[in-house]
Every structure is written in structure tokens, then in C-alpha cells.
Amino acid sequence: MTPLLPDHAKQEISFTVNGVPRSIHAYPMARLLDILREELELPGTKEGCGEGECGSCSILMDGVLVNSCLIPALQAQGSTIVTIEGLAKDDRLHPLQQAFLECGAAQCGICTPGMILAAVHLLEKIPRPSLEQIREGLSGNLCRCTGYLQIFDAVAKACRNEVAE
């Protein structure tokens, strides 16, 4: 089999994913999305459009919400990454995951991982967002099932629960 690029074009790239240091041997321009899903076997991050439009592949990289389909692997060097697999702790759901479940914010579930990470990012920036801020904060993530309103409910509910705790 003739690879598109010679093997020596591959590089060592190291970063932390969900608290675990990982090291991969990959083409520098490989999509971070593919690295996560295929090399690191974390398929919770989904591909929707492959061009940064739908937000399904959203992850947190050094606390910034990014579309992993647009990130070359090399750009992740030395970074700290959080994916959907990193949110629940010891079987205990993250408050946003719990709220998504209760409010009907996940229907088919394919946009859900990216949507939840967008919501995590929003609440890190604005712990008590208004409805308008929630709309704005999730505007980079497309959902075709819910019509979004129950997602907004879930984000609002997660904030209330956080405060209650």
C-alpha cells in the first residue's frame, strides 16, 4: 500500500487528554478529531460536517472550545484536552450531563457531546448566564432534533443545581 505521505513525515506529538498524558506518532496535519477517535479510541467526539460548521466535534483545548475537525494534530502539542469521555467522574454524571438527561436535551445524541462541551465552556466563562447568553454561547453547535429550547432549559437547570450544591 502506498501511503499518501512518507512515514518519516510523522511526528511525536504529546498532550494530555482527560487528565491522562498521551503520546502519538502522527502526521502533523492529521485532524485532531481523527487522532482522538481512531488513535486514542475516544469516539465520543463526533464528526458532523468536517468543516467547522456544526460543532459536533467540539472539545476543550487549554480551556478553549474548538472544532477538533479543524485542528491539526501538531497544534495540540503540549495542550490539555477535555472530551465528553472526561466529564463524568467515577460514574457520577457532570451536572450538565444530568440536566441534559432530565430536560430532554439529548434526542438522537449525535450533537450532544459537542453541545455539552460548549455548555461546559459557557458556564466556565459565565456561571449564571441569561437565556440570551445561553443562546449565544451555544450558537456554534447545530442540533437538528430538539429545536434547542430544552437544551437551554438543561443549561439553566445545571446552573441552578451547581448553586444548590
Binding site: 467526539t45 459536533s56 463524568a88 444530568q98 430532554g104 439529548a106 449525535i110 437538528r144 430538539t146 429545536g147
Partner: protein, 757 residues
């Protein structure tokens, strides 16, 4: 109607597969990899119509690395078996649309495939192609059958030819709806594995496991037991994964059989958008006779849908469009003629609403046009013409349930603050740069297959007691976000009087579940739910007749009885088969009788603003009030309505498929725009519950209903805001601007009855 005694039905229990979805552990087809798996890709025709002269493989590629398949490699019959077997799986000699699959390629490295697909050239002698319903009707080129027509229907009620002479008003209108892309966020995909002894197995994103099963038997020339279809978690469908998955499964299977290795085909977004099905574009012409006081005397409806290049499901979509075209009104006489025609575009297919959103857009726009012509308000005109219990629909089905559409209308208007807003807007619009308007739509949606359809489907459902004392549901009904898993488990738990947590549902797999039909037509809660209930009663009776379960029991006793039975006798299983409700009569030839076992009813109200700087229309507030029988799960039901309204806002105001020579030009999320989080108004959802004697615990259908009403309500509101008639969707800013510029060409034809004769 069975009563909900345990309060499981009607309660918002946790979604069955919800935890997997919010933690990212749910496994969709593209998340699955198999040892030695190859990746498949499709070479398409690129020309809309022609004859294949040859296939050229560029020498730049080392083709020895690839598995290559063409029509010659198909072991069975080269078609996608559905209703008519006219659509080939791989084009053989003839091309009928620009996305026709011709060659399949498979390779171990998926990144190599794009280049390889480009390196295959299908050489063709082009033939003249047609791209519009009008061209198809002219029959200058015959591209399908003898007349370009897939199917026609004629519904006749009363003596419509006699009403024109008695009419005080005759109102005509012509209405158009465009194609719409489903845009489920998970693209289509399949994995196929072939074993010479076991046969072919496919895993994939799909709605109807037994449709794929049937198609693969025909295509691969295999017997029933040598084909296995398994549904993986499915990331949205909306009808878009009803028929096309059979095509992709077929392609993966052909490659897997030739390669002797597993083959995965997952479309990228562009391929999914341009090559798979979309909503049928439509044109509806209305001519209606009315009395002086605005009562419908009769009318003629002429409905045409564009089916694309092959018959696929167009006849069935047309059927539902035809039956719904009269709306929720009483027609003393009517003649409805409809047809589905062929064009050289990829076949249009199932999409939530299945023809009803098209014909209901037309009737609800037309009602507003009539109101204007006869000098009544849109509210009063509808009130005078609503179907009443005891009256008959256009197919002469008697309305037996105590539906009161006027009361639904009143309630909906009160929630919307309709009268007050309308008054304020008419004052404010005189001076404001932002024009506001209010629009309504009243409509109905038949649940389940049309006419005798459920009889033909002959669905079977199974329920199993397990060794751990739980119950497992066996159905081919699929979950793709709408809540199948949850609602069916609720019904079983309620019927058995055991906790919801003690009921599970098997992954749809054609080797282990019975054929409960396709997951379409808003049939699952009503039809399959009822069968789950019957099977649950059967399971309970088996245990009681065996003497190991008392008439009255606790959940613990039930679990023990299950365990004991399985331990002693091996299998505890109850099956239930569909039986048609009594007194239901349908004539497939005359298209008369009980078209549907139940109708859901709704009145939606939209408030819209149009900013005359941008000409963009925006929905500011939305009331969705409906009677859907029993609300099985309030959170899921509300989610279905809001999601459907959002998708229909897209249909009305955002989603425009741009065509060039039969091909979609804007097959990306960057240029085909669906509503995002900032685009949606508050959507207030109100349920009325009359119930339904034919559905489990009174359920009717819900999934498709919310797709029907928003577009006409919104466009009626835009018309109210601007005073300009709009009769075509989608209505983008450029369309509004254009119509306002050419407003002087009024389309409304109101002829005094004298001169109309």
C-alpha cells in the same frame, strides 16, 4: 381505552439510552471498527442523463490496491427493492440523475479514497434531461415509463361540477414548496461483513431494518436466513434513513462479498446532502367555490410532486399529500387530482410529514386568500368551515371523535394574544420600519400507514421474560432520537405493573426481533405500542395460567415468576400480531373510507417580524397547540413538537436547495442554512388529550404533526405583516424583496361568479 394505573405512562421517565448519549458511550456506525476492515467509496455519474460508453481508470493510481465493483459484480438482481424495483443499485448502461452510483471502490486507508474516486471517469453519451415538473408534464422527453408519471390519484366526493354555478365566490391560487434536506447530524453509514456460510451482515444507521433486509436478499441473491441487518445508534433520521440506507447497505455488501473483508461506507456531509433523498418539491392549484357567507361549497385541487429519477416512495408520499390536501375542513364536494412526476434529479423521498406539509401549506395559504376574497377574517373563515364530529373528510371518513376545532382555535389565539397583537401591529406597522404580523394554521395529521397499509404490514411484536427477572421488548422499531425505546418500555412496564427500570428493549437485529414494520408514519407509539401492550398481557397470562403468578402481584413476585419460568422451561416469550380495528373500511381503488385509524389535530399561531432593511423574516413567538391523544411522556412529546416546529421554521424561512442540472449546488452546512440556537423564538407547546381507542393508552401519532403547520402559519403572518401575497416556500430575504418589488402583479384571482361561469 386502557387506563394508566401505575402512572408510568404519562410520566417523564429517563430516556432509556440517554445516559449513553450524554456520556459519549453510545456507539454509532462510524464509531465501530472491525479487524481487517476496508473503507468503501462511491463513484457517481456526474451527468444528469445519458448512456455509459465506458469506465476509465486513470493510470496514476495503483488499482491493484483497490477492490473495484460495478454492476457486473452484483450477485442477485441489480435493484433497490422497495415498491417498484426500478432503481438500480449500480448504474448499468444508463444514467438517470447526476448522483447515480456507477463504481464502488474499497481500500484499507480511507484517506486514499477521495483521490481514487476522482481518478475514475464514467464516459457517457449525454441525453436530453428534464429538471422541472412542468418539463416533465410536457412529455417532450420521456425519461420514465411511457409518460413520466410514477403515480396518480383521484378522489371525488359529491358533485363538484354543479357547485360553480351556485357559488358567490370562486377563489383560485397556486402554491409551491421546495426541496428540503433532512440534515440529520449523523451522516449515513453502513458496515458489511460477508461470510460464505453465515451470509451477509450489515450494521448501520437506519430506520427500517426489514426494508434493508428485503433489499439485500434481492440484491445479493441470498435467502432470508443469510441476511442479517442490525441497527446501530442512529443520529437523527427524519425519514431520511427510510429508503436510502438500503442503497448504502447494498454497496457495502457488494464490496464485502468481493473483498472477503468487512467494508465500511460512511458518507461525508457533501455526499450525504447531494446524493441522498430530500423532501419532494410540490405545486398545488386550488379552485374553491364559496357561498356569500364564506362556506365552502366545493373545490378542485390539482397537486403535483417532483419524484426525481426513480419511483422509490413517491407513490406513498403522494397518497398522504393527496389525503391531507383538503385540510381540517368540511368539503361537501371535492375533486382532488394528484400525480408524482419524474425528473432527472436524485429521487426525492420520505421526510417527516411525508407529503402532508406540502399540501397543508397550500390549503392553509389558500384559506387566508379565501378569507381576503370573501371579506372575513382568517379566524372566522376557518371557524365556519372546520370539520365537525359526524361530518366526513374528503375520503368520506366519518369523524367519530368529539373534536372541537373551534375550541382549539380559541385557546390557541388566547395563548398567542392574537387579537390584541393584530390590532397593535396594524397601527404600529404604518410608521415602523419593522413590520409585524400574525398568522394561523389549522391542520390534521393521520397516524399510521394509510388505508389498508397497516393490514399489509402485519406487524409482530415480541416480549421476553429474562433469567434475571426482567422483561425485554423485541421489535424492529428503531430509536433515532424520537423516543421509541423509552415509550415502548413505559407501555410494557405500565401494562405489567412493574418498574420502568425492569424493562429493556433489544437492539434491532433482524435475526432476533420479529418484523414490527418500519419506524415511520407516526405509527410507533400508537400501533406498535398497542402490540407491546397486547404482548405484555400475553406474557402475564402465560405466567398466571402456569400458576406461578397470582392475579394480584407485586413487582418482586413478577420478577420471581419470570426467573422461575425461564429456569424451568427455558423460554418465556409472548408475541402479538396486528389486527385491524373493527369497523374500519378502506377502498384502495376509489380512495374512499377510513384513511387513518386516528388523526392528530392542531392549531398553530405564528408572530413574525420583517425588517425592511434586510428583508429577513423572523419568527418572534410561536404557539403550538395540538390534540395528540394521550401524552405518553411529557418531556419527549414536547421535544418532538419543538424540534418539528424548528425544522418547519427552516422549511419556511431558511432552507433552500439550489439546483443546477439536477444537482444540489449548496450541499454544505455553510451554504444550506438550518436554524441555529439564536434563530428560534419561544415555542409554547400546549397539549389537549381526547385520547384514541385504537392506540396504547390512547396514544395517537406525534412525530410528523409539528412539521405540517408552522410554514403556512409563518407565511400567513408574513403576508399579514407586509400585505403582499407569498405563495412559495422557502421564503428567504431575497424572495421577499423580489415579491415586494413585483407586488403590482397580483396573483389573487377573484372573479365575480357571473363572469367565471
Amino acid at each position: 381505552m386502557a387506563r394508566s394505573d401505575y402512572g408510568i405512562v404519562g410520566t417523564s421517565v429517563p430516556r432509556k439510552e440517554g445516559r449513553d448519549k450524554v456520556t459519549g458511550t453510545a456507539r454509532y456506525v462510524d464509531d465501530i471498527r472491525m479487524p481487517k476492515m476496508l473503507y468503501g467509496a462511491t463513484v457517481r455519474s456526474k451527468v444528469p442523463r445519458g448512456k455509459i460508453k465506458g469506465i476509465f481508470f486513470s493510470p496514476d493510481i495503483d488499482w491493484d490496491e483497490y477492490i473495484i465493483a460495478t454492476a457486473e459484480d452484483i450477485p442477485g438482481k441489480n435493484c433497490i427493492a422497495l415498491i417498484l424495483d426500478d432503481q438500480p443499485c449500480l448504474a448499468d448502461g444508463v444514467i438517470n440523475h447526476p448522483e447515480e452510483p456507477v463504481v464502488l471502490l474499497a481500500h484499507p486507508d480511507k484517506h486514499q479514497l477521495a483521490k481514487a474516486v476522482e481518478a475514475v471517469v464514467v464516459e457517457t453519451d449525454p441525453l436530453p434531461a428534464i429538471y422541472s415538473m412542468e418539463e416533465s408534464e410536457r412529455k417532450k422527453e420521456i425519461i420514465w415509463g411511457t409518460d413520466n408519471i410514477f403515480k396518480t390519484f383521484l378522489i371525488e366526493k359529491g358533485a363538484v361540477d354543479q357547485v360553480w354555478g351556485q357559488a358567490d365566490f370562486i377563489v383560485e391560487g397556486e402554491y409551491f414548496t421546495g426541496a428540503q434536506e433532512h440534515l440529520y447530524i449523523e451522516n449515513n453509514g453502513m458496515i458489511a461483513v460477508f461470510d460464505p456460510i453465515a451470509g451477509i451482515t450489515v450494521w448501520g444507521s437506519l430506520q427500517c431494518p426489514f426494508y434493508v433486509h428485503k433489499a439485500l436478499m434481492v440484491l445479493c441473491g441470498l435467502t432470508e436466513d443469510k441476511v442479517r441487518v442490525v441497527q446501530t445508534e442512529t443520529g437523527g433520521a427524519f425519514g431520511g434513513k427510510e429508503e436510502y440506507p438500503s442503497m448504502i447497505a447494498g454497496h457495502a455488501a457488494i464490496l464485502a462479498m468481493k473483498a472477503g473483508r468487512p467494508v465500511k461506507i460512511v458518507y461525508d456531509r457533501l455526499e450525504d446532502m447531494v446524493a441522498t433523498t430530500k423532501r419532494h418539491p410540490s405545486r398545488t392549484r386550488h379552485r374553491t367555490a364559496l357561498s356569500r357567507d364564506g362556506r365552502i361549497l366545493g373545490g378542485e385541487i390539482d397537486l403535483t410532486i417532483d419524484g426525481g429519477a426513480y419511483a422509490t416512495l413517491s407513490s406513498v408520499v403522494l397518497s398522504r399529500a393527496t389525503i391531507h390536501s383538503g385540510g381540517p375542513y368540511f368539503w361537501p364536494s371535492i375533486r382532488i387530482r394528484s400525480k408524482a412526476v419524474a425528473t432527472n434529479a436524485p429521487p426525492h423521498g420520505a421526510f417527516r410529514g411525508f407529503g402532508a406539509p406540502q399540501s397543508l401549506f397550500a390549503i392553509e395559504r389558500h384559506m387566508d386568500r379565501i378569507a381576503k376574497a370573501v371579506g372575513l377574517s382568517p379566524v372566522e373563515l376557518r371557524r365556519r368551515n372546520f370539520l365537525q364530529p359526524g361530518q366526513t373528510t374528503t375520503t368520506e371518513q366519518v369523524i367519530r371523535e368529539p373534536i372541537n376545532l373551534s375550541a382549539l382555535l380559541d385557546k390557541s389565539l388566547a395563548h398567542a394574544g392574537y387579537e390584541e397583537k393584530k390590532k397593535n401591529f396594524s397601527l404600529e406597522n404604518k410608521t415602523s420600519h419593522v413590520k409585524r404580523g400574525m398568522g394561523i394554521a389549522a391542520f390534521l395529521h393521520g397516524a399510521g400507514f394509510t388505508g389498508s397499509g397497516e393490514r399489509y404490514l402485519d406487524s409482530v411484536v415480541g416480549l421476553e421474560g429474562t433469567a434475571d427477572g426482567k422483561v425485554r421488548i423485541l421489535v424492529s422499531s428503531t430509536e433515532f432520537g424520537q423516543g421509541t425505546n423509552t415509550v415502548l418500555c413505559q407501555i410494557a412496564a405500565e401494562t405489567l405493573g412493574i418498574p420502568y427500570e425492569c424493562v429493556t428493549i433489544a437492539q434491532p437485529d433482524t435475526t432476533t426481533v420479529p418484523n414490527s414494520g418500519p419506524t415511520v408514519a407516526s405509527r410507533t407509539a400508537m400501533v406498535i405500542g398497542n402490540l407491546v401492550r397486547s404482548a405484555a398481557i400475553g406474557l402475564k397470562q402465560t405466567l398466571q395460567l402456569d400458576g406461578i403468578l397470582d392475579q394480584r402481584y407485586t413487582p418482586e413476585k413478577f420478577a420471581n415468576a419470570c426467573r422461575n419460568y425461564v429456569e424451568e422451561k427455558g423460554v418465556l416469550r409472548a408475541l402479538a400480531r396486528y389486527t385491524a380495528p373493527e369497523g374500519i373500511y378502506w377502498d384502495d381503488v376509489k380512495y374512499k373510507g377510513e384513511a387513518y385509524a386516528a388523526y392528530a389535530w392542531a392549531v398553530y399561531v405564528a408572530e413574525v417580524s420583517v425588517d425592511l432593511t434586510t428583508y429577513a423574516a423572523k419568527v418572534e413567538d410561536f404557539i403550538a397547540l395540538q390534540e395528540i391523544g394521550k401524552v405518553m411522556h411529557p418531556v419527549l412529546a414536547k421535544g418532538q413538537i419543538i424540534g418539528g416546529v424548528a425544522q418547519a421554521i427552516g422549511l419556511a424561512l431558511y432552507e433552500k436547495v439550489l439546483w443546477q442540472d439536477g444537482r444540489m449546488l449548496n450541499g454544505q452546512m455553510t451554504n444550506y442554512i438550518i436554524p441555529a440556537s439564536c434563530d428560534l423564538p419561544s415555542i409554547r407547546v400546549i397539549f389537549e388529550e381526547i385520547g384514541n381507542p385504537h392506540g396504547a393508552y390512547g396514544a395517537k401519532g406525534i412525530g410528523e404533526l409539528p412539521m405540517d403547520g408552522p410554514a403556512p402559519a409563518i407565511v400567513n403572518a408574513v403576508v399579514d405583516a407586509l400585505g403582499v401575497p407569498f405563495d412559495s416556500i422557502p421564503l428567504l430575504p431575497e424572495d421577499i424583496l423580489e415579491a415586494m418589488v413585483s407586488h403590482s402583479i397580483a396573483k389573487t384571482v377573484v372573479v365575480p361568479a357571473e363572469s367565471a361561469r
